[in-house]
Symmetry: C2
Amino acid sequence: MRTATKLFVFGAAIFLVLAAAPQTATRPKPGPEYASDGQLQFPANYREWIYLSSGFDMSYNEAQQMDHHMFDNVFVNPEAWRAFVATGKWPDKTIFVLEARGAEGKGSINQKGNFQGSVMAVEVHVKDQARFADKWAFFGFTAGAKTAKVIPSSQNCYSCHSEHGAVDTTFVQFYPTLMPIATAKGTVEAAHK
Amino acid sequence: MRTATKLFVFGAAIFLVLAAAPQTATRPKPGPEYASDGQLQFPANYREWIYLSSGFDMSYNEAQQMDHHMFDNVFVNPEAWRAFVATGKWPDKTIFVLEARGAEGKGSINQKGNFQGSVMAVEVHVKDQARFADKWAFFGFTAGAKTAKVIPSSQNCYSCHSEHGAVDTTFVQFYPTLMPIATAKGTVEAAHK
């Protein structure tokens, strides 16, 4: 598994996807959509959603070594974001997308540091209380896939998010515009106060 | 000047701002707004705009040394983004926001790499053809400022963007979802082809 994605789906397999950037401004229905076999539909317009933050080479594991640098960008659907701003809580039908991108170094006029390259993986975290026993579920999209099966709840992405997420199993502690809202609304889990 | 902001406003002074995150989903009028004295109004809702990309410690200058790490996040107003997706060109009233944030290291469960901290600077690049002789202008917002004066066109942010911007003085070469659109639409400047 890519290091930069560890904070979202921890311990699961690598999910590589060659996700094309959204090329249109069409507006799908809000909330998760599922295929007839129950798999999650790829949220194709997530780059039009609300950006929460980015990480660079983030990892839980101090000893982890990577032969490349990575960015991860996190987006959330606008309906969920508006609810969070108002209440400090994630509503039902919240969808997070974690997009991992390779980091480029020198290029064009850039001489130091890194800018973002191609998409390496897209992982999705959905709150759908009627569908999932633990309210939330994780999905990883393989290359070019339009749909993805739910990641089994035995995977440690679930336990890690549950134990360490600042708000409702999500890593609000890494989203600098949201943590002050959660703090003000009193919705930060006791372990993070 | 912060290194991470060099790619946007190159050679200008440091513009520090303690910009509060947008706390509401109110929808101001699209396009730049100006105070009665001609200064640009701070685009308070830019975190609801379209995210283009992030950099980490980017710099034009290979020899530059920093005592801290920085992220920069770039946003564009949705109206301009929709026009770019359709045409590969920036329409009049395009607004870019470059938000520089300090990079945090170890924190919560993160052991390696960096996540985003507080806003260090907000810089704005506006296309307003009726107002600016060169169509585009740069602004830097000082701490807590609601408005900012235009940066003089003698500053080298203008010449650098003009010489090195892939599309219409903007660094589309660093925005991975937009460069393929500009390439397909044939709007990349000759120097970048």
